[in-house]
Symmetry: C2
Subunit: 177 residues, 2 copies
Amino acid sequence: MPIKSKIRSIPDYPKKGIMFRDITTLIKDAVGFRLMIDNLTQRYITKEIDYDLIAGIEARGFIMGGAMAYTLGKGFVPIRKSGKLPAEVVSQEYSLEYGVDTIEMHKDSFVPGTRVLIVDDLLATGGTALAAAALIEKLGGVVAEIAFIVNLPDVGGEKKLRDKGYEVFSLTEFEGD
Amino acid sequence: MPIKSKIRSIPDYPKKGIMFRDITTLIKDAVGFRLMIDNLTQRYITKEIDYDLIAGIEARGFIMGGAMAYTLGKGFVPIRKSGKLPAEVVSQEYSLEYGVDTIEMHKDSFVPGTRVLIVDDLLATGGTALAAAALIEKLGGVVAEIAFIVNLPDVGGEKKLRDKGYEVFSLTEFEGD
């Protein structure tokens, strides 16, 4: 698959034993970037997935989320690291290997009942995506689906998200990670 | 102008005396987001500005940069805070009110001679944009133009960038900031 072949693998990043899947080599290429967005949007122009709004997870999720929102004619809402949003927020903590992190959304991101498509570049443990879904639900929204460029199924995030009842879509997978 | 009317102004953020111009209220609206991107891309589909690649400044510059790159058929390169990029980088420090900050790009972001359109949401002092331009030039690239959603001309960034010879474009301005 051309998209997969343009993703760079960097051993021992961010630490020893981790094989980092780097999409910057895919998206700096005009054709690679177009194919990536086309493959995502073609799924979401059908009527099968019902959604009103796109939420991108900081920071790489902003890149494809912005392109998808424009192409699909939807609004875009950022899910940010804590302390980055200027108005009133809702927050959600999630566990990292050591300690916790927090993501936030503006309280007025959308009206209750809104169906939200969450997007990010990479699905590994699923911790950030689960926290993002929790934020959507705290605001009265419904998670329509969670979309990724890369899924690492052996890390277990996809299973965790599906077990919680979320729909998951990814463009490509790397096994054995 | 409809774009300007959808930008929210938040007094005393991030600190007392600063009027923060918040584009999240513009981009969560499907029509607002589309108009914002259409107004930007209509400038760059003409032949007047010659560029090969779009570079977005983390994090809000990723949102419009991704949409612009897709729509204009160009590749996208992220300009990130230090320590966020997995491969070899070039770095550029710049001054904040207190202390310094650093932004980075991958060394293999583009080949020398590439003409780069830099995008970000807000032009205030111009410090980040100048550092971004310096990064492009360290890699042998040429800054084609620097585009913003919002310009705060009274803060002086636009003048500073123009005095250094850069082309600057912004969709809207707030005076008196």
